[in-house]
């Protein structure tokens, strides 16, 4: 195992932000720690990096117990939420910082920096200052700076949080490709379930300082261990008193042995259509379907429909 955390606990006053966390993270995996804000996921990352000290528990990286070791000797690449660029250094000097600390010869540093600049696609920007870069470029520079020291583990704190939607989508695809290329054990923290599902091969769901469930994304999506995981990993709606996924429901023409109701509202989101149905028992489940399915049904607000679970 690349990283193993046992009984890891961090308290602020009486409040346990990270509460008895036990996790094993496999060598070369890309793990997403997913949870709502305040669930303790960023603190967990800082505990692994050594930027916070645990009140209890151990952090073991590649067999070495690093709990009492200063962050500077942990060989961890850390990318901060707001990238923390050294503002007074240009891109090349930012990326080379860790190598200068390690007293590498100048020609080695220059070669490594040039290689990383190409890897993170910042060609031609080596003399630019962080202030002259876009958000996505700063993020890639921070990534290159962390990778320069050839870390044993790469930790990314909300790596795409501060970017606009399109750059976000591009960058997460790129991070996934980059990870396949360099295979360094990576943990990223996010509150966005789509992002976690898309990028990661392992998920850790955190809630109130505890790990709710760990495993592969599809496994968690299909077999959530708790109500919280079920609700957090995708949309849910109440049907017959239980919480289900809206895409597991379907609308059919009235009186086919299904529950009857009327269409209360319709929201068309391009390919996807969401319809809310008012049932006689007063509940209002919503159904997610494709645009085509909706067209074939040929219903609108006020129409009588039946609703049932998909088989």
């Amino acid at each position: 195992m690349s990283i193993s955390l046992s009984h890891l606990t961090k308290r602020y006053g009486d409040d346990a932000v990270v509460d008895d966390v036990n996790v094993e993270i496999a060598e070369g995996s890309l793990t997403a720690v997913l949870g709502p804000s305040g669930s303790g996921k960023s603190t967990l990352l800082k505990l692994i990096a050594g930027l916070e000290n645990p009140d209890e528990g151990r952090v073991v990286i590649e067999g070495d117990d690093v709990t009492d070791i200063d962050p500077r000797h942990r060989d961890i690449g850390f990318c901060f939420q707001h990238y923390a660029p050294f503002r007074h250094m240009n891109v090349a000097r930012n990326i080379g910082f860790g190598l200068r600390v390690r007293k590498q010869p100048k020609n080695v540093i220059d070669a490594k920096v040039a290689e990383l600049i190409e890897l993170v696609r910042l060609d031609g920007k080596s003399k630019s200052f962080p202030a002259q870069l876009s958000g996505g470029e700063r993020q890639r520079m921070a990534l290159a700076r962390a990778l320069a020291i050839e870390p044993r583990v790469l930790l990314l704190d909300e790596p795409f949080g501060a970017l606009d939607a399109q750059v976000r989508a591009e960058l997460r695809q790129w991070v996934k490709e980059l990870h396949q290329q360099i295979k360094v054990t990576t943990i990223l923290v996010t509150h966005d379930q789509d992002e976690a599902m898309e990028v990661a091969d392992q998920l850790l769901i955190m809630h109130e300082g505890r790990i709710e469930q760990a495993g592969e994304p599809t496994e968690l999506y299909e077999r959530p261990a708790t109500e919280f995981v079920h609700r957090f990993l995708g949309p849910t709606t109440m049907f017959k008193g239980v919480s289900v996924r809206p895409h597991d429901l379907e609308l059919v023409a009235p009186s086919e042995g299904a529950i009857e109701g009327t269409v209360q509202s319709v929201m068309e989101l391009g390919f996807e259509v969401q319809a809310t149905i008012a049932l006689s028992d007063g509940s209002t489940p919503w159904v997610q379907m494709s645009r085509n399915e909706f067209r074939i049904l040929n219903v609108g607000v006020g129409s009588a429909v039946s609703i049932r679970e998909r088989i």
Partner: protein, 273 residues
């Protein structure tokens, strides 16, 4: 009133205000200092007592400014990066010397270090003389210029945040390298601004120094006290104006250097973001 008139009348008010408070007095200072020609000015500023006063002021500044800079930056780092019991009381303690009149600082120092106080009498039995000596002047000066560096650096440190320092740590940098290569470049304008204010205050301090120095001409007379003496005791107006001009010029030059450096840095786009 249309937009242009409003803009120009606002500028006029500001210019008049600054002119009455700063421009006119400083202008007069220049005119009067040279009223008997450059030669008379030069004779005044090269008088032995004037030179001695200038030298003492410079020596006091050479000690007080570096010490207060180190203390100010150090205290700012501690206050910005660590939360501890009594941190607010500490910040407050730094502000007390500028919040009260300098005369009070002077009198308080006399009380504490003269033979009236137990500490002062203990010192004097061990042959240590603080009052009426350059040591007392340095202490009084450091007290009244204490918070300037702290006050200029603390908000910058808080604004810059801890992330760059944490990043440097994860990349392997120790405390020393992190301070010189990451923290200090990030706060350098705050430090320089604080140092400039400290220099100005250090050179200009009058009240507290007057009380503790004993005003011994040629020995414990700093430049401001020399100017006051020339003006008030010796009716030497040209001497007073000449000394005042030298004092004012040093501070004005320091401010000009600071703003020029800063403007050049801005042009390089380094300080933005």
């Amino acid at each position: 009133m249309n937009h242009t008139t409003r803009k120009w009348s606002l500028r006029l008010v500001v210019t008049l205000y600054l002119g009455l408070l700063v421009g006119l007095p400083v202008g007069y200072l220049f005119i009067e200092a040279f009223s008997h020609g450059f030669h008379a000015f030069w004779v005044e500023v090269t008088k032995p007592d004037a030179i001695a006063a200038l030298k003492l002021s410079a020596e006091v500044a050479l000690i007080a400014v570096p010490v207060n800079t180190l203390v100010g930056v150090g205290a700012a780092l501690v206050l910005a990066r660590r939360k501890f019991f009594g941190s607010r009381a500490l910040t407050l303690a730094f502000d007390i010397p500028v919040a009260v009149s300098p005369i009070i600082i002077g009198v308080a120092l006399v009380l504490a270090y003269s033979r009236i106080g137990w500490f002062g009498s203990w010192l004097s039995t061990h042959g240590i003389q603080i009052l009426f000596s350059p040591v007392g002047i340095v202490m009084a000066t450091m007290a009244v210029s204490l918070p300037y560096v702290l006050r200029s650096v603390l908000p910058v440190l808080i604004e810059v945040g801890k992330d760059q320092e944490d990043a440097a740590r994860t990349l392997g940098a120790g405390a020393f390298r992190t301070f010189w290569q990451v923290t200090l470049p990030a706060i350098r304008w705050g430090v320089l601004y604080g140092v400039t204010l400290t220099i100005a205050r250090t050179l200009g301090e009058f009240g507290a120094v007057l009380v503790v120095s004993g005003n011994i001409t040629g020995k414990t007379q700093t430049l401001p006290i020399y100017i006051y003496d020339a003006w008030d005791q010796n009716y030497d107006t040209v001497g007073a104006f000449a000394g005042a001009l030298v004092l004012a010029s040093i501070s004005i030059v320091a401010l000009i250097i600071l703003s020029t450096l800063r403007a050049r840095e801005r042009k390089l786009h380094v300080d933005l973001a």
